[in-house]
Assembly symmetry: C2
Homo-oligomer: 313 residues x 2
């Protein structure tokens, strides 16, 4: 994108992702208006967490601007499962959103799977993740209903693409060939789907969590991935990277700036910044990605809305 030209050329500075979000949201708005669609999202909030409340407000504002009805429901966590099932069965609802954590741990993983994959705009259900990891593009055998991709990893891929990092002169599956990327986070929500997507595009990916490092590479079959053990240290992985993606939900976690090479793209999706802000003096820093994530939520919603329209045909 034109907006980022100077930063990309100088190989340093801070990137505001607003133009990327705007680009996608304009497309979405145009699609909704031209087709006369009336998509409707229900979002469930169970906690008083200020971060979740703020995020839900921004999402509502964005959705409403773009022609999407967005209903925020505050429910007790012990009632959430019933509420999700009701929304699954309500034909007037096209997308379901849940603000996590609810209980935390595996119980939240269970709740993610109570959301019908057909309304799962966040792309968090096991079905949607399994399909992503196995390059299955459709939910049904007839191939009428496209899968969705977890929205935060999708947002990150779109940001990297819009920074001009993808080499589109190469063939599909090799657009990131030669790039080394480290992701500090291996959750099933962001880190692992993201590692898979970037590996699918040809990158050599180091995936870091508290237990160590795993390499993600393209698998034998196109679109699939392979995990490989490695003895590389976290520090070494970071220092070898062209792109460093940070998502540790702790304000105490900061990567030592000395480990990061000049000109590295440092993208942060944690609620707090996992690196000193001064890194922008020698690197390209993307400190937050939330606006693009919301755009991807909307994008997933339209895909699922369209699937639901096809179903009725």
């Amino acid at each position: 994108m034109e907006e980022f030209k100077e930063i990309i050329n100088n190989k340093k500075g801070k990137v505001d992702v607003t133009p990327i979000a705007t680009f996608f949201r304009n497309e979405i708005k145009e699609q909704i208006t031209s087709k006369g669609w009336k998509p409707r999202v229900v979002a469930f909030l169970t906690s008083d967490d200020q971060g979740a409340i703020d995020y839900s407000k921004w999402t509502k504002i964005a959705c409403n601007k773009d022609g999407i009805e967005f209903e925020l429901k505050r429910v007790e966590r012990v009632d959430l499962e019933d509420c999700i099932i009701e929304a699954n069965n309500d034909n007037s609802i096209h997308g379901i959103l849940v603000y996590y954590p609810v209980f935390g741990g595996m119980l939240d993983g269970y709740l993610q799977d109570v959301v019908s994959p057909e309304k799962d705009i966040e792309g968090l259900s096991t079905t949607n993740r399994f399909n992503l990891y196995h390059n299955i593009r459709y939910m049904d055998e007839k191939e009428t209903k496209k899968c969705v991709i977890p929205c935060t990893p999708l947002a990150i891929v779109k940001i990297i693409d819009n920074l001009g990092i993808y080499d589109k002169s190469l063939q599909m599956g090799e657009h990131l060939k030669g790039k080394t990327i480290t992701i500090v986070n291996r959750s099933e929500i962001v880190g692992r789907p993201l590692a898979a997507m970037l590996a699918n595009d040809g990158a050599y990916v180091y995936s870091i969590d508290i237990n160590g490092v795993i390499i993600f590479q393209a698998g034998k079959r196109y679109g699939t991935i392979k995990m490989v053990e490695t003895s590389i240290s976290r520090e070494e992985a970071i220092s070898k990277s062209d792109i460093l993606i940070l998502g540790v939900p702790s304000s105490n976690y900061k990567v030592n700036s000395d480990l990061i090479n000049e000109g590295t793209i440092v993208l942060n999706f944690a609620g707090c910044l996992n690196v000193e802000e001064s890194i922008q003096d020698k690197c390209i820093l993307v400190p937050t990605i939330g606006k693009v994530t919301i755009a991807m939520l909307e994008r997933n919603l339209l895909r699922l809305y369209n699937n639901q329209l096809n179903k009725k045909d």
Copy 2:
């Protein structure tokens, strides 16, 4: 059971669950022999964890004695998903077992769902858990394939039943009416399914995890459960309980014996004992349950084997 009569009458002592395991395994052996069945299990071990290695050995010995072919495969954790999928697609394999932790966290939750629910002898897949929580007894609409129940909670219910605690003079769903039970563990593997099963049988269940206490009660619709918030403290819940079930995977965690009433049934399913052994001087202590869990694994296997036979018809 006759073997436990003295302990039950005295309301104290240590229970060895071997007779319960033997009872079920004899039934299983008889069924396999009389029907000429040839059930086959594949178990995947990815770690050098001595506990998992020992448990796999005991399971193999038990299975082989009872007429079940048990193949233990050591695989790299990065290859496990492919191995599970291969086993899912192999008609000569009727049951799949994975020794966790593999990676730990949500990635292990994902792997549990890669195991086909039709071969999931541990009953850990989301499908099997969802069906348990919603009183759905069959995997298919035609009601030909019975669901399985997670094997550790099932073992615990069978132990409590065989200690004579269930009042069978009451109607179904009320066998544990008037009993207060505390479970210290709310995992999706044991604690929560167990809380649901005991609540289904009429018990008033306090479910404790590091974040606090939740009550599990029978729901409006028969066979379903309802979670309810409570402000009761952990200590108070424990001191009100007729049955205390402990499953904290840490040898540092021990419940203060003073909190536990005389005559309480204290059942421990953690690898280590979460209470002082001297509790048996005033309570009924079931220190380990592994043998019954293995019997329940076998029981689940036969159910799934039978489902697979029906499928071929």
